[in-house]
């Protein structure tokens, strides 16, 4: 086959039945409209401009940036924030039938025993907030944060619950909240991605990279994940013999080819590719300096408990602060390994949970304090929490008594904390019943939390939509109420 025919054939392969039918319907009207509007109005703008929503923010934002610390696996609220002395008294008694009827649990079978709090609580700060003994650092900042004790969700398995929390839907395919935010508000620093993700604890969260995926939004809005040890971003420096000038020229050539491909096929993802190449080029200048936490003074490194070169939540917290300082819009820190079922010592709510808390307590506290002294906490929204809570009952996997104390997944009640970005200081919001099973006052659904995060960024979650497959999509779908009670 000669070259011409091959090119023709290739072109035809790209024309599907759907293209044909669509062209029949809209072709003529399209020709008329094109002459009215001017032909290549879309291409005249850069990808970011073409989609940036000029109406945003809808109102004055309290927060300019967000850092979401997601404790993948779901920490136990009953050992950390939600103090239940009554549950202590019920320890080892059979769980009443009324709490089990019509409920599904991930592992609990038959009649489990109640499990009292495995750590002691004390009151801290002027607010007199109860905090567990295994969070000794965090107890020093209770007067800076709001603890929500009445969170609830719809899902009791990790992956769907993480997706519901981060994307508003328990199934894969929706954009994550960070994608929505950077799509709507853009980045404050054009030399860095607007949405960055750091993972620690040994594993990715169960929901995988969907948790920071861009769904149906253009893929340049997906979270950029940094490596957790060694160079955070690979191949950021030019190889020998490649000068910045040559890099620029080769990029120009590649972009020209990509642009002509876009003109031919109109695939929006080609524009994303162009802007991602450009972003990588800009990052070559900024990234090596910003990503190097060893440049921080020793005192600050000690404050976080960071050790440059190691993979840890502490390093990620310190790195996150440097990124926030540079105007990165949305940062997610995932820390894996909170799923304390009690099937071994490291997975017990006494030993295992204490160890896990030791990994995050100092750095997360340092992050809040450090943001505060730099004047960044005012306009940075900090959120910490898991994807659901844990049962007041002791897990009895397979109907047997397990070797260690553990708790099963629980969707009805869990605790998170928030700070900065226009959130009240020293507040405990919501209340659960005597054993921490249900929220009984000011319940906050995951969609309410999402609505509140967008609200603090100046975005009305009901107005912020993206048209896809014939309908407008929202982060909160048709749900969500802004939790006004926690706003300062």
């Amino acid at each position: 086959m000669d070259l011409y025919n091959e090119a023709q054939k290739r072109k035809l392969e790209f024309t599907t039945r759907r293209h044909f039918l669509k062209k029949c319907g809209t072709g003529l009207g399209g020709i008329a409209l094109a002459s009215l509007f001017g032909s290549d109005h879309l291409l005249a703008k850069s990808p970011a401009q073409a989609l940036s929503n000029k109406a945003l923010p809808h109102f004055l934002p309290k927060a300019k940036r967000v850092i979401y610390m997601h404790m993948a696996g779901a920490p136990s609220q009953l050992e950390l924030f939600d103090y239940k002395p009554k549950l202590k008294k019920l320890h080892n008694l059979d769980c009443p039938k009324s709490l089990l009827e019509g409920k599904r649990f991930a592992f609990i079978q038959g009649t489990p025993k109640m499990l009292g709090p495995q750590h002691d609580f004390k009151q801290y700060g002027e607010s007199g907030t109860y905090i567990s003994d295994i969070l000794p650092h965090f107890s020093s900042i209770v007067d800076d944060v709001t603890i929500i004790k009445s969170m609830h969700t719809d899902e009791f398995n990790h992956a769907p619950a993480q997706l519901l929390l981060q994307t508003g839907s328990p199934r894969a395919g929706r954009p994550s909240i960070g994608s929505w935010v950077t799509y709507g508000l853009g980045s404050e620093n054009e030399n860095l991605p607007g949405y960055m993700v750091l993972v620690s604890g040994g594993n990715n969260p169960s929901a995988g990279k969907n948790a920071w995926g861009s769904g149906f939004l253009p893929s340049e809005y997906q979270g950029v994940q940094c490596r957790n040890s060694g160079d955070p971003i690979l191949y950021v420096s030019n190889p020998d013999g490649m000068s910045r000038n040559i890099r620029r020229k080769s990029l120009d050539a590649i972009n020209a080819i990509n642009k002509s491909q876009y003109e031919e096929f109109g695939d929006r993802e080609i524009l994303s590719r162009i802007s991602q190449y450009e972003m990588a080029f800009k990052m070559q200048i900024s990234v090596p300096d910003i990503m190097d936490i060893s440049k921080e003074p020793e005192k600050i490194q000690e404050m976080y408990g960071a050790e440059p070169g190691k993979a840890s939540f502490a390093n990620n917290c310190l790195l996150a602060r440097r990124l926030l300082e540079q105007g990165v819009r949305f940062i997610q820190l995932y820390h894996w390994g909170w799923d304390m079922h009690g099937d071994n010592k490291n997975n017990s709510v006494n030993e295992g949970l204490k160890k896990k808390c030791g990994e995050v307590d100092q750095p997360m506290t340092a992050l809040v304090k450090d943001l505060k002294q730099r004047g960044l906490l005012d306009d940075t929204l900090v959120i910490w929490g898991g994807e659901f809570g844990r049962t007041p009952m002791r897990e009895n996997r397979g109907g047997r008594v397990m070797d260690f104390y553990g708790r099963d997944h629980h969707s009805e009640a869990f605790s998170i904390w928030m700070a900065g970005g226009g959130i009240k200081e020293g507040l405990t919001y919501g209340e659960t019943d005597e054993i921490g099973y249900y929220g009984i006052r000011d319940r906050v659904h995951v969609h309410d939390l999402q609505a509140t995060i967008l609200h603090q960024l100046g975005v009305d979650h009901e107005k912020f939509t993206y048209h896809f497959q014939g309908r407008d999509f929202r982060l909160t779908d048709v749900h969500g109420h802004v939790v006004k009670g926690i706003l300062s």
Binding site: L60, Q326, Q373, G485
Partner: protein, 458 residues
């Protein structure tokens, strides 16, 4: 048949009045318009006008019958009802008269003169009947509620009271409770249409109650009929507002509960009653206590696109603080390849009134730059941490009368700056970690300006 006996058939059909009544209105007006067209343009619409009048009249009869059925329910102002009823009947009758004249135009010579007159009278009667019908449904103040002052005055209405929305001066009845009644209840409980013989238009009528007696028991929401009705299950037949009208919001119910609990006062200010945080949030939802910030009170013309572009060309990031604001947020990010010079800052002067948030953190800003920034009258937030400024520079900033947030951490400023900083009247947050301000300096700042939060690190 028994099915019909179980319900109030009269009312069942009566409710269709407001549906059917628009048909005769439409047909009669259409007939008159056709008549005008055929007269001016010689268009052949004469026959259409004839049928228009006939059909309009026939539907008019149905509307009148349904209307009488609806009126049997009572609860309407008698004077208004009588006017509406008789003008409605007259309109229908006259529509037939006009029809009769029209088909006999050739028979009687006087009919040609009487016909246009009859049409004019029908139109006038129709308007009067329609207007009073509207008053019966929506209340007599509905039509001109949002009319400009002079028109309200002409109509003999008292000038609209400007609702007070400041938390410390708003009146609990006038601005909160009355506002809720007006928006949710008084469509049916007004002078023209006091359903259940209840009016909720002023203190006297509220205290007078309705056909079942008092509706408010001061101090006891649970015993108050009004409160019981609005908090019932929405499917309950006694739930208010009825007929699918918009129910009260959670916040509105909370305000009524709070007002009744506090003795249902009519003359007190909101601030005279105990205010919990929840009530404050609820009041905000109906517009009371929403703080209007300094920024929201500014109404500045937008910066010219050329100015916008020239600022961006200097390496600044510029954006509107919200989608519909003309105020600007400007930043000069670190890692900008060019140093931040005083010349660059001068380009900002063209937008000096619009710039309200300015971030120059970790830039090469020096004292001379601050003398330019000192002329930005609406600056509320300034981040100049990690720059090379000194006390000399801070001296310039004392002109910033609206500055609320100032970040100076990591600079070389000393106690000398303290006096300058204390001259900033609106300053609420100050960041001086890693500066040379001493403990005494900090103490002076904190003691002299108790409303100021000074963050000096850990």
């Amino acid at each position: 048949m028994t099915v019909l006996l179980e319900t109030n058939v009269t009312l069942f059909f009566g409710r269709f009045h407001s549906l059917i009544v628009h048909l005769p209105i439409g047909f009669i007006i259409l007939a008159i318009m056709f008549e005008l067209l055929s007269w001016r343009k010689k268009a052949d619409l004469s026959l259409a006008a004839t049928y228009g009048l006939l059909i309009g009249g026939l539907f008019g009869v149905i509307a009148v019958i349904l209307g009488l059925m609806l009126a049997s329910d009572g609860g309407y102002n008698e004077d208004t009802l009588a006017t509406h009823q008789w003008t409605g009947i007259a309109t229908t009758t006259l529509a037939f008269v006009a029809y009769f004249l029209k088909i006999n135009l050739k028979k009687f010579t006087w009919a040609a003169k009487a016909y246009p007159i009859s049409l004019a009278v029908v139109l006038i009667l129709l308007s009067v009947a329609g207007h009073y019908g509207g008053n019966l449904t929506h209340g007599s103040t509905y039509l001109l509620e949002y009319a400009p002052g002079p028109i309200r005055k002409m109509a003999g209405m008292k000038p609209a009271r400007t609702r007070i929305t400041a938390l410390d001066s708003a009146l609990v009845y006038e601005d909160a409770v009355h506002f809720i009644f007006e928006t949710k209840c008084n469509v049916c409980h007004n002078r023209d249409k006091s359903k259940g013989e209840l009016l909720l238009i002023d203190p006297q009528s509220i205290l007078a109650g309705g056909e079942n007696g008092a509706v408010i028991t001061p101090g006891d929401p649970a015993a108050s009929e009004l409160f019981r009705r609005v908090t019932l299950d929405p499917h309950h037949e006694e739930f208010m507002p009825t007929e699918g009208r918009t129910p009260l919001t959670r916040q509105e119910v909370a305000i009524l509960e709070w007002w009744i609990t506090e003795g249902a006062p009519f003359d007190k200010k909101v601030a005279d009653l105990p205010l919990s945080d929840d009530i404050k949030i609820s009041l905000k939802e109906i517009g009371i206590g929403q703080e209007v910030s300094y920024l929201a009170s500014l109404d500045l013309p937008a910066v010219a696109p050329e100015t916008f572009n020239s600022i961006m060309l200097q390496g600044f990031r510029v954006s509107n603080i919200t989608g519909n604001s003309t105020l600007l947020e400007v930043s000069y990010m670190p890692h900008n390849p060019e140093a931040l010079s005083a010349d660059k800052l001068k380009t900002l002067s063209d937008a000096r009134e619009n710039i309200t948030w300015l971030t120059l953190s970790a830039s090469t800003l020096q004292n001379d730059g601050l003398s330019i920034i000192a002329n930005f009258p609406n600056l509320t937030k300034l981040k100049i941490n990690g720059t090379r400024i000194t006390d000399e520079g801070i001296k310039h900033l004392v002109t910033l009368d609206n500055l609320e947030y100032l970040n100076l951490y990591g600079t070389e400023i000393t106690d000398e700056s303290v006096d300058y900083l204390l001259q900033l009247p609106e300053l609420k947050k100050l960041y001086v970690w890693q500066t040379k301000i001493s403990e005494q300096g900090l103490a002076k700042l904190r003691d002299t300006a108790p409303g100021l939060v000074v963050e000096s690190g850990i």
